[in-house]
Structure formats: structure tokens, C-alpha cells
Symmetry: C2
Subunit: 649 residues, 2 copies
């Protein structure tokens, strides 16, 4: 079937599906806990095809097992509007657990799923909710750095509910895998605390025994599957020519003949196969009903825990109404400090919130203080997963990819911190979060050259605009306490995709808000924070974000002292602002006079305020010196901006 799919599409990857078919068949038949009629069953096993180019195998399995994926869809493999795109797409196809294709991401997400599953199980140790996460992957996945980071963490956390089937076919696109990959895979995994097993392809009983053994391990397990790429193809098996191109009409025929298929028709499923799968499906339904009964018994016995569990699974239980804090009581601080305080408040009302940081927690202020860190230092294997904080180590990429897995798994809302400049390490995973519309929050602190002494390698310049470019992400850069609080609340209650918070390292002076200020205004994405009223001369409109809002207000006040009318618009989030009604956008932007943008990044604001605006920005790398010195050198003081505005007027 996979062969036919690739053949008809005239493109795709037939080799890996053919090699791994036996393993995946045995896994689904004998081990995978699932119900095709309830694909969202929370306690199903997860099956992640990390090497997503083998998608035709996944689609074939989903079809044969009776997921809503009719044969007609399989015939439209890799075509517009079909349910069988080139790589599996989460949310589009029932039974697809994660969008894979960019290598390494599926494995790292599976680590997040396995971890999140253990966090839930740790709270209800007696409930029949334990289950497993299975992954298939190839050499390419293992070569990626993000995989290596995730493998290290899985071993560190001792995720015994994670089983990885490594399709060792020794072939990559450029040829034999040993052209670039000569690691001792077994020793490498064992060094990271994994159990490792070997299995030969084709022999189903043998495969069954090996997987069965893996589930008895106290560690995450790697099964090295000795397969042949394009297995079954008489002339192309074992060769890189069948990795990423159709076999060709003749070879497809030869393959079917070699496999002794009675019928050479395309997309042909013999009756006995259909019958066999019907039997297997019935067995899965039986198991599912059995589980349901056990669960009901547990729920009856543990009414309180049952209620807690339901609440946790129901999703977000934070307050939906947004109340304004008493701003007069807020003292000036860095927005990362504000954020740290807000996290404490939110985490107590929102049990789903799961924190973490890439070894910068003391700087990023990401720790949920009322809880512990996950890990095995507790008084038992499971108790280590009660915590709501994660030490990711210096592994930004795995952090982002694991957060994707946590978010997809379904009951936690993960946030993770690092410096904004290191968002570059995380982009492939952030992009997937955006594509899958996952609810994750990135706490990016140290958000401009104001980082200071650490110098250019640690000072973001292009990162704010570069993040804003990712379709579907929301970037919020708050200017004070209330904007930070509203940003967090928006992330928890309104967002339907990833949210990146950009927070300052340095203290930002709290500024006076207009009398008629309402916190809801922040969630319009842009709003007026200062207006001197009309006066003589040309009006000056400032558009500023984050730490530059207070600077702009200072500058505006100075100008209005000279009778130049000014207003300052704070823009915590361009994406949210652009999603407002045309009328609101006009009410903010359609103002005559000079427009001045102030943001300590290289953002080009022409599309909002035109080419003739004065843009106070920085489009070169930073330097090592105290932040205030840099502000002076780079022209970001109120005084320097004032001079630029006067020149322009």
C-alpha cells in the first residue's frame, strides 16, 4: 500500500515504510493501547513516527485499523486537501499524534509526552491510567542535536514508559549511514541511562518478545531494529535510491510478485486481511471496555481523586475574568521580576501550569516556588514527578520540543525560560508549536542590549522581529507590571497558539497611567498610555514597546513641556493589535503629525507607521558594557530620542 501511495503521488519515501512495516504491525497489534473510535482517549498509548517521511506506513495503519481515513484518501497521498499529506500533520488527521518531518522533533516531543504522563500518574498512583509512548525513528533523527538533548533528559528522568524503535537500515539520503554516522548507538544510549535491546525484522514472534521485554525495563528503552530499507523490493532493497523516490512501475510489480501477493492491483487489500483487522479491532474494543470498567471502579472507590482528575483533564481552571491590580502599590522592577511574581499567583489558581528553564531559572525568574522540581530525588520512583518545575539543563532546543510534547499530551500548559537571544536555538520547535497551534509559553528574558556586560553574543537585536515572523505565534513585550500581568493572563486564557514573552533584565520605572486606563486595553495589543492634549505645532506620536515605553513617555513629557503636543502608544503585541477591528486600529494609528517608533531591536515599523517615520532602533550587534552606557551610546535615552525628534521636526 505504501508503495502504491508513493507511486501514485510520483514522490515520497517508500524505503522506510517497507523496512519498518513488521515492527509497526506487531507493535500496534500486540502492545499499542488505543481505540480507533475514540482517538482522543486520554490514556491511550501514544505512537509518534519521528521520521515523518515514512508517513505512508502510518496512514496505512490508520486506515487498516479503522480510523477515519478511507482508502480514497490514501489514493490522494501528498495531494491538495487530502488527509494524507507528505508528512503527518497533527490536528488534520485522526490518529496522528504529532506533526513530524523536521528530524528530531518527534522524539523530543515524545519525551515530553512520556514525562507529562508520569506527572499525571504520580498524582493518582492507584488509578489505571498508566500507559506508554512509542516512537519510531531512523539514523537521521539520532544525528540531530535536539534528539541528543532529549535522549539525555529521558535517561536522566528515567522515563520507563518510553520505548523507541530505531529503524537501523544503515541508509541515508547521501548513501550508507556510516558515511557520517559511526557511533556505537548501544553504548551511547546506555551512557545516558537507557536500556538497549536488539531485534531482527520479519520474525513477528521475536519482535513481540523484544518489545515485551522493553516494557519491563525501569529505564527508557531503545530497540535497535535491524531492518532493510525497501524490504521486499527485489532490486532496490538496501539502497539509498529507495529512500526518497518512488520505486518505479516495474519494481513495484516485481516487489508484489516477490511478496507473492495474489493480486497486483493497486491499493488492493485482500479480504483475509480485512477480516483479520476486524478481529484485531474487536480485541482492542474489548480491552478499551475492560479499561473503562476498571476506571469506573477506581472512580467509585476514590470519589475525591476522581473529581480532581476530572478537573485537571477539563483543562484550564484559571479565572477567566481579569482583575486589575492596584497599580499604585507596584514598585519599579524588571519585567522578568514582575513575571516571577505573577507566576506564583497564577500557578496557585492554575494547576495545569508546568514551569521550567534551560539552566537560567534564577535569572529568568521561572520557578514555581510552591512546588518542587521533577526528578528522582523524591522518596520513590513516581513521587519525583509530583513537581511542577523542570531543570532542562542547557538544552534550549529540547526544552522547546519537550514543551510541545507536554502541550500535545493534553493536561498541562508548559512554560519555559531562557534569554531571548537563545530563542535562536529553539526556532525549529517554536515553528512546530505555531503550526500545531500548541499552547506553550516562552519566557524570554534579557530582551535587548540592556543585557549589558555579557556583550553582543548575549544581546538580542533581530530576535523580536524574527519571532514575530513565525506565522501563528504571539509575541508580547510588556512595559510595566500591569502589561506583564495581562500578558500572562492572555497567554493562559486567550491564546490558541504559542506565546513568547519578552521581558527585561533591567529595572523599568513604573509610569503613570491615564485616569481612564483599563487593563483590558492592554489586550488590544496597542493603546494610548500618554496624551499631552492638543497644543501648538505638529503632534508627535510615539509607538513604543517594553522598556522603551517609559523612555518614550519621558521624552514626550519633555516635548509637551515645550508646547509640542505628544502622545505615546504602547504596543505590547503587534499580533494582537493586528487582529483587532479595522476601526480600533485606525483609532490608534490614524493620527497626523510625526510618528516615532522606539524599540531596542531591529524591527522595521514601516508597515504600521510608514516609511517617513522616525525609527529609533538598533540594527547592528551590541557591545559589552553596562546597559545604561549602551543606551547612551546606542541613542536610547530620553535625551537622545528628544534630540532626534527635534531634528526631524
Amino acid at each position: 500500500m505504501c508503495v502504491d501511495m508513493v507511486e501514485r503521488a510520483k514522490s515520497g519515501h517508500p524505503g522506510a515504510p517497507m523496512g519498518m512495516a513488521d515492527f509497526v504491525y506487531v507493535l500496534w497489534k500486540n502492545f499499542l493501547r488505543f481505540n480507533p473510535q475514540a482517538p482522543d482517549w486520554m490514556f491511550r498509548d501514544r505512537f509518534i513516527m519521528s521520521g515523518g517521511h515514512a508517513s505512508s506506513l502510518l496512514y496505512s495503519m490508520l486506515h487498516l485499523w479503522g480510523y477515519e481515513l478511507p482508502l480514497d484518501e490514501l489514493k490522494k497521498f501528498r495531494q491538495w486537501g487530502s488527509l494524507t499529506p507528505g508528512h503527518p500533520e497533527y490536528g488534520e488527521i485522526p490518529g496522528v499524534e504529532f506533526t513530524t518531518g523536521p528530524l528530531g522533533q518527534g522524539l523530543a516531543a515524545a519525551v515530553g509526552m512520556a514525562m507529562s504522563a508520569k506527572c499525571l500518574q504520580a498524582r493518582f498512583p492507584d488509578a489505571p491510567i498508566k500507559h506508554n509512548v512509542f516512537v519510531t525513528l531512523g539514523e537521521g533523527d539520532l544525528m540531530e542535536g535536539v534528539s541528543q538533548e532529549a535522549i539525555s533528559l529521558a535517561g536522566h528522568w528515567c522515563l520507563d514508559n518510553l520505548v523507541v524503535l530505531f529503524d537501523q537500515n544503515n541508509i541515508t539520503i547521501e548513501g550508507p549511514a556510516d558515511l557520517a554516522f559511526t557511533e556505537d548507538v548501544r553504548a551511547g544510549f546506555e551512557a545516558r541511562g537507557w536500556a538497549v535491546k536488539k531485534a531482527r525484522g520479519n520474525d513477528h514472534e521475536h519482535i513481540e518478545n523484544v518489545i515485551s521485554g522493553a516494557l519491563f525495563e525501569y529505564y527508557p528503552t531503545l530497540i535497535i531494529c535491524e531492518t532493510v530499507i525497501g524490504d521486499g523490493s527485489p532490486n532496490k532493497a538496501g539502497d539509498s535510491s529507495c529512500h526518497g523516490a518512488p520505486l518505479g512501475v516495474d519494481e513495484v510489480r516485481a516487489t508484489k510478485r516477490a511478496l507473492k501477493w495474489s493480486n497486483e492491483k493497486n491499493f488492493f487489500v485482500p479480504d483475509q486481511v480485512r477480516t483479520r483487522f476486524d478481529e484485531l479491532k474487536n480485541e482492542k474494543f474489548r480491552q478499551y471496555r475492560q479499561w473503562h470498567r476498571e476506571m469506573q471502579i477506581w472512580r467509585d472507590k476514590n470519589p475525591n481523586d476522581s473529581r480532581v482528575l476530572s478537573n485537571l483533564l477539563q483543562g484550564d481552571n484559571s479565572e477567566k475574568t481579569i482583575s486589575a491590580p492596584d497599580c499604585s502599590k507596584i514598585s519599579s522592577a524588571a519585567t522578568r521580576v514582575h513575571s516571577g511574581k505573577i507566576i506564583q499567583e497564577l500557578s496557585s489558581s492554575n494547576a495545569q501550569l508546568m514551569g521550567g528553564c534551560a539552566d537560567l531559572a534564577p535569572s529568568c525568574k521561572t520557578i514555581i516556588k510552591s512546588s518542587s522540581f521533577i526528578g528522582l530525588e523524591g522518596d520513590g520512583v513516581e513521587s519525583g514527578f509530583i513537581g511542577r518545575n523542570i531543570h532542562y539543563g542547557v538544552r534550549e532546543h529540547a526544552m522547546a520540543a519537550i514543551m510541545n510534547g507536554i502541550a500535545v499530551y493534553g493536561w498541562q500548559l508548559p512554560f519555559g525560560g531562557t534569554f531571548l537571544v537563545f530563542s535562536d536555538y529553539m526556532r525549529p520547535a517554536i515553528r512546530l508549536a505555531a503550526m500545531m497551534q500548541l499552547r506553550v509559553v516562552y519566557v524570554f528574558t534579557h530582551d535587548s542590549f540592556w543585557v549589558g556586560e555579557d556583550g553582543p553574543t548575549h544581546q538580542p537585536i533581530e530576535h523580536l522581529p524574527a519571532l514575530r515572523l513565525i506565522p501563528g505565534i504571539t509575541v508580547i513585550r510588556p512595559a510595566n507590571f500591569i502589561e506583564t500581568e495581562m500578558a500572562w493572563k492572555w497567554a493562559l486564557t486567550e491564546a490558541n497558539g504559542p506565546v513568547a514573552l519578552a521581558l527585561s533584565r533591567q529595572t523599568i520605572p513604573e509610569f503613570e497611567l491615564p485616569d481612564d486606563f483599563k487593563p483590558e486595553q492592554v489586550l488590544k495589543g496597542a493603546y494610548e498610555v500618554y496624551n499631552s492634549g492638543d497644543g501648538g505645532g505638529t503632534k508627535v506620536n510615539f509607538l513604543a514597546t517594553g522598556s522603551e515605553v517609559s523612555t518614550s513617555i519621558q521624552c514626550a513629557q519633555k516635548l509637551s513641556d515645550e508646547n509640542i503636543p505628544t502622545r505615546v502608544v504602547s504596543v505590547p503585541s503587534v499580533e494582537i493589535f493586528k487582529s483587532q477591528a479595522e476601526e480600533y486600529i485606525s483609532s490608534i494609528l490614524d493620527h497626523d503629525g510625526l510618528w516615532v517608533s522606539v524599540e531596542a531591536s531591529s524591527q522595521d515599523w514601516s508597515s504600521l507607521i510608514g516609511r517617513n517615520a522616525l525609527m529609533v532602533r538598533i540594527d547592528h550587534f551590541g557591545a559589552s558594557a553596562p546597559g545604561s552606557i549602551l543606551a547612551d551610546k546606542f541613542g536610547f535615552t530620553a535625551e537622545a530620542i528628544y534630540k532626534k525628534v527635534k531634528n526631524k521636526l
Copy 2:
């Protein structure tokens, strides 16, 4: 001294420098081949401090050894304009071999340096040019995925000229390293083909013996240095509190007392230390002169090889004059195919060019066909490094970081290929290349949704604008053969920083160029490729790049058939265009009428053509279907653009 530097700056990292001081001292004294008076000596050993936050130790060594780094500069640690920024900056400070700080990058670059050194040595096996690359790093470096990728490649390539000193102080910012790092480091490195040794701190003779042993290994060697963070500090040694914050005045005094320093003055170097370093320096000078004599003997004996070596080291020997190919002979093809042909031509005239790809060479067309791949499959250890192609495996990040090391090492100009969408995996290394102004070329193919069937995970949307944001990079997206050729020539002869080529997967029809077309126009970054002449009505100005140039010309022709005057400006490179004289820029942009931008990315062109321009772009994720179907669905056919323009007119 390090302690005083951090103390005076009131910020920085005292712990690691104190722990590693003994190792670095012994390494420099007994092993490192260098001459402070000739810091650019090609055959010096390289010393890379991958954990760049320990910079104060590096600066102290450079100062004591007599590099041009006076004590006054050490006193200005982390201050504006000093030669002692927070993290080491390449090009700013004599003796600093690489800009480090973002963890993992230094190690991966060192792998590139060691590899490039072996490539040179392989050509002159008898010349006295063998030398080593030494790296210091900490747990943080090892946790990063890019390190893991580079470690795997170093082992695969058997880089016996690479020695890594791992500062195992068991402390990270969040606390003990085992909070997130419990790997068996020795087993992990051995699994990747490294030799591993252990050494205790403090005992100089022991350290000397271990390093000496490492240099006899046939493999890259890891030395696990058992150190104590903040060694010498009576109250803070071994604690994360001394990782990233000053010790404090009292603790500094206590430390100096504990070390029995006779003088508690700050930045005090005792006379006997100065005298000792003078002796050591003289020994290094003696060694350097000795090497010079040996080299001269080799040069006298091998006049031909000597000449070849000098030519190779002299840098770029490609033709500086740019000749136009006969465009009439060029048939339509994908620009990646054009690029593949051009690489063959350029690599024969430019011996420095070093190719490679992240397991996509057949797709990216990056192979230098006249040469082999590096590796050990040759008939001897060294002969494997004669090749000019590199199998990086599926390790995009390490590829970019290793290319940085190759470029810095000094005799090769590396290029590396992958799909444009995977540039996300490489951004931290690309940013460093831009910061260090390294000459590397990224061959990014499959540059838009035209990728087709592989679907949204493989279709770049935001990547072109996101790359253009990096300060100092040049992005070139050619539209036809001649633009591809000029792009390559510019990269090899004009660029003074990294160049990213964005090349199409799909065939682009060759279009007719104006009679007065000159290839040099391409290197203005933007130029007119079509002009219908004046006629009735509003003039329509197209601004297009890459595959959208020919589409725009088709559309323009259709409009001009209706007597609507049109012109099409091809913009192969925004960065090059913006660097032109104001006058030239005006001559291209200051044209009345409607402006229409056409690029299959989410680029916002407002800053060039204003907010009221018609922008044909794509700011959402792609889909899985043949490219031509997507062009139709996403509005990128000449017909669809024509309709949009007519609507707007």
C-alpha cells in the same frame, strides 16, 4: 586576577576561571604552540575557550604571556570600548581565536578547525605544519545539541589533533549539574570514537602527563578535569553562587589570604611571576624560531609544494573579473541546478572552496564532483582528508558551526547545503558567522512553498525575511542562471561576511534580458529586468525575487499588452541593494505608479515600496500538494497576480 576583574566589573563569572586555572596554565606552558608576537602564525595551536563566560582566565593568560593586552585593559573588564568584553570576541582581541558565549559553538568550531588543519596537512604530509586544537568547556557546553552533533563528527573523522579539556566542576547556574546532567560522560564519548582520560586539578605534573598522553592518541581526546568551581575561595568553592556573580569584597580578601598571596592589592602580579613568564615566553620564541628553520628546510627541499602551500594560504585565487556566460545557451532549470553547475566551475579555479551538505547533497546539488569526500576510507589516515566534500549527516547546526571553524582557521572557504526551512536549525551559528564576519556560504535550496508535496514542515515561509534580519549577513535569491552565477561570484570575491543563497527546487523558466543588460547589474542588488516603455495609464512597477521574477515578467507582459506600462525590478539581494549609493537606489525606486512586490515568503516590503503597495506574499504555513497546485491556491500564478493588479488599479 580573574577574581579582581569580576569584582571590579561588579558582574561576571569568577568560578570557572578559578577552577580551570591550573589546567590552562600547564597547557599553555608545556604544550600550546604559539608566539604572542605573531598571533596570526598559521601553524600555531588553537586554544578555544568554548565556555566563554570564563573569559577573565583567557584575558589573564593573554596578558601574562605578553599579547597586546595591557593590565589597564584587564581593569576595564566588561566595560565599553575595552579589549576585555564579557565574552571573548574574535577579531577584537589579539589571541582570541573565536567568539564564544553561546554554549556549544566553540567546541563545534574547534572541530571545524581541527578538520581544516588536517585537510591542509594531508596535502603536505612531510611539512612541519602539524599542530593541535585545544578546547576548554564545561557541563553546559556538553548539554547543547550542537556539541553532541560535533562530538559525533569529530569521532567519525578521527580528529587526533583535537583535545578537549572538560571542566567537570559539577555546578551549573541552577545548582549541582546532576540536577539535569547524569550522563556517563566517559562512555558517551567513547561510544562516539573518542579517547577519554581523567585528570585531577592542582597537581601540575599529573596534568602534564595526562595532556601528553592525549597527544599520543589516534583519536580526538576528552580529558575530564576534576575541578572545583571557585577553587581557592574558602567559603564559595564548589557552590553555584560563584558561577555567575562576583565573590564579594570579603570573600576576595579571604581567597587571597587562603592562597597565601603576600599582597592583597588588586590586579597585583608579583615580580617573580613576571620573571617566570618572561622565561617561558623566551622558550616559546625559541620554539618558534626552530620551527621557522625547519619550515625553511622543507620549503628549500620542496619548492613546488612550497609554492602551492603559499598560494593556498594567500587566500582566494579565483578570477576577480566577472565574465558573463552566453545566456542564449542556458536552458531553463531550477536555480539549485544552476548552482550545482557553477560549483563545478568555481571549485576548479578556487582551491579553497570546501563543500558539504547535511545529508541532502543529491537535492542541494552541492557536491564538488572533481573531488572526493573527507573521511577515513582512503588508503591511509591522512589521505582521507584530501577530499573537498563533507558528509555532515543530518546535523545542520553542527554543519554551520563547523563551517565557522573552517572559515576562522584560515585557508578554506566553506559552503554547506540544506533546505532553506532548516536554516532555523542553524541560526545560532549563522549569527556568530555574521558577528565575526566569517566568509561562509549557505546553499539553501527548496526556497519556498514550491517545495510542494513534502508539506508545511518543509516549506519556508518566514525564513527569507528572518535571515535578512541577521546583521551582517547577505541573502541572495537569484532568478535565473546569470543571477545564480553572479551570486556565487559575489560570495567568493566580494563578501566580507556570510552569504546565504536561496535557491529554487522547481524549474524556473529563463526569461529574456534587456538588450543593454550587463551582469554587473546583478551585483547592484536590484536592477530593471523588464520595461515595457511608457504608454497610457498608471505605470505598474513590480519588485520580485527568485522564482517570482519570471512570473512577474509574464504578468507585466500581459498588462503591457493592454497598454498598461510596466517595469519589473529583480531584487536578488536587499542587503547589497541597500548598500548602493543613494542615487542608484532612487533610480530604481523613485518611480510613480503602482508598486507590486512578488516574493513567495512573508517578507514585508513596506520600507522599500511603501504601505500602499500591493504585496503578493504568503504569511501562513504551506500545504502538501504539487508546487504548481500550491502556486494556484496561494495566488502566485501570473494570472492570479494579474487579477490582483487589475483590482488595485
